[in-house]
Symmetry: C2
């Protein structure tokens, strides 16, 4: 495994998810919430998941400038310098470039783990074994490693990774974004396809070489300002670069094109907890298949529903089946689970009439 | 009409209604709420309804001791001495006795109007005509007057008054409490039966004479302490009387038994607004038959429902039909309109588990 001193963890925390509205807000997106009621926010769980592997001074969080203080509030172990602020979101490739070129200044031999800030991992022991394998592998190979997840269902909302063989660490044959249901079913049956976790492990110099080759415009922009990173000129330089660089995902921009991409697959209780529906699936249900706070929520003739309440609030709910009920201090949402894709539409309407206040 | 100086208005405001829970609370029952969103509480509307007839110093409010400050907050025109505090609720007869024996000390020739604090009257002009008729009548007759309401439906939750003839002011033939539906339908068809509004008009000396005759125990108790009313010994004396006297309604204890009971009937847009369902019936509906706040409440595929929200709160509601949704700062209620009679059961369960805090 890598020398700890050269091992860094980059947490990507720039998301502005709206699918958990009204629980998630522009001012407090999902990564800062304790949606699963574990007592810890997603970003806090993400930090703790890697904190025994990576010294706390070797974490970087890349986020939107407006969330900087929230990041420091959730991970008080970090210094301000460890929070890299994007002026605008440009998808994952610019985010990872920012962190990578920044790290190259600190340690050109650095190994980095890149992870989303807002996923759930239930089996951390298994996950750590897998991460350990990937760290060992990138130590001795110029490899861009990704972590794949054994699919438990033909999910059409995820990206898939096809392995080329049955080795523990296998070269990636191809990436496929959000397949239709028929294709997703074939993927799951084949045993060759795995969900793309969005977690990556590589040496800084290897990802930068790959960016230089496959995203030369991005390389040129970031390389040109590299000497300003970590200085007082950083914010202005980054503002310029982000205004010029193309929004593109690292998967599409680099991973699908590079030929040194490998995957380590496993089954470690992963979920991206992307919607109220996925939280419902994931959560412990009562005998009527309801997911609800353990105290203060009284349900009658109510089945297969998920209820979220502010702390200390009492709810009496009669006669709902397959519903989402989310109550917050200033917004109440009552919606059939089957219609959660409409939440975006509701947000637009509330925003149009009431402004940003409740969004 | 009576000389204004001898005319008094007694507002009975001791109710601890729970059917509007969670909007109504033990700490703030219905009479202090603006359920109809008129900008004024029921008790305030009641005061204003009589304020042009009765000088403000001639009002008395009888309420539970715990609501004294709420009464003064809603009717700042009153002095503390005008709020008579019952130590415990004993139904309307002891409440009316308290006010009557108190008034006899002030003015033995007083005429009094007695009114519940929590009813709605839409046609105040018509109501004032009716009240004027009753005042004229009791001026020249030893009469216990009640006001009846032309029934608009065979309501089984109200008491009915049968008139003995078609005169504007008619002797009462009988009182009937909450009939079954079949009987209620016959009542409405007959044209002889009217809803009992619980509003009474009489001379103080006449009601006291009737109490002496029909509720002699109550008379004995109140008459014995009459000289203490309006003095420092009042509270203790009243505590003793209320602990000893039987709980009984004025209808059952006096009106059904006396032979000088008269009714003036009319149609003045009266409602006791007793439940969420009656508020729904009474309220202006949108084109989908929903009753909801004019701002901030977004309904989709939702029909014939009533929604109440705290000021400034946004709600998105999809897929409810015939529901009651009441959100308050600390309690959320979602219940089919057809099951509102269960609200009492819900309160009991919340109280059992969470204590009095949310009740």
């Amino acid at each position: 495994m890598s020398d700890k001193k050269t091992l860094y963890c980059v947490i990507m925390a720039g998301g502005v998810g709206t699918r958990f509205w009204p629980e998630s807000r522009q001012s407090k997106p999902k990564q800062f919430l304790d949606i699963c009621d574990t007592g810890k926010s997603f970003i806090r769980m993400t930090f703790e998941r890697f904190a025994h592997l990576v010294p706390k001074e070797n974490f970087l969080v890349v986020t939107n400038a407006r969330y900087k203080s929230l990041v420091l509030e959730h991970i008080p172990e970090l210094t301000e310098q460890q929070v890299l602020c994007e002026p605008i979101g440009r998808n994952t490739a610019p985010c990872i470039c920012y962190a990578s070129y920044h790290l190259r200044n600190i340690d050109p031999e650095a190994t980095m783990i890149v992870t989303p800030a807002d996923h759930l991992i239930l089996n951390e022991a298994e996950f750590h074994t897998i991460v350990g394998d990937t760290l060992d592998f990138v130590e001795s190979n110029n490899a861009l490693m990704t972590i794949g997840i054994t699919p438990s269902r033909p999910e059409t909302g995820y990206g898939y990774i096809q392995k080329s063989d049955n080795a523990t660490i296998s070269r990636v044959k191809c990436f496929t974004e959000k397949p239709n249901l028929e294709l997703a079913q074939l993927f799951v049956q084949s045993g060759e396809f795995f969900w793309n976790s969005g977690i990556f492990v590589w040496k800084v110099k290897d990802i930068i070489a790959a960016v230089a080759e496959h995203l030369p415009e991005h390389h040129a922009l970031f390389d040109a300002i590299a000497d300003k990173l970590g200085t007082e000129a950083e914010a202005e330089a980054i503002a310029q670069v982000f205004s010029e660089c193309r929004a593109i995902s690292i998967d599409y921009g680099v991973m699908e094109k590079a030929d040194n991409v490998y995957v380590r697959c496993g089954d470690f209780g992963w979920s991206d907890v992307g919607t109220w529906g996925s939280l419902y699936q994931l959560s412990r249900k009562d005998k009527y298949a309801n997911v609800k706070p353990s105290e203060g929520c009284y349900t009658y003739n109510t089945r297969s529903s998920i209820v979220s309440l502010p702390k200390g609030k009492v709810a009496v709910i009669n006669g709902l089946r397959d519903y989402i009920v989310v109550d917050t201090d200033d917004v109440l949402l009552i919606c059939p689970r089957a219609e959660e894709q409409n939440i975006k539409k509701y947000i637009d309407e509330v925003k149009y009439n009431n402004g940003d206040k409740h969004i």
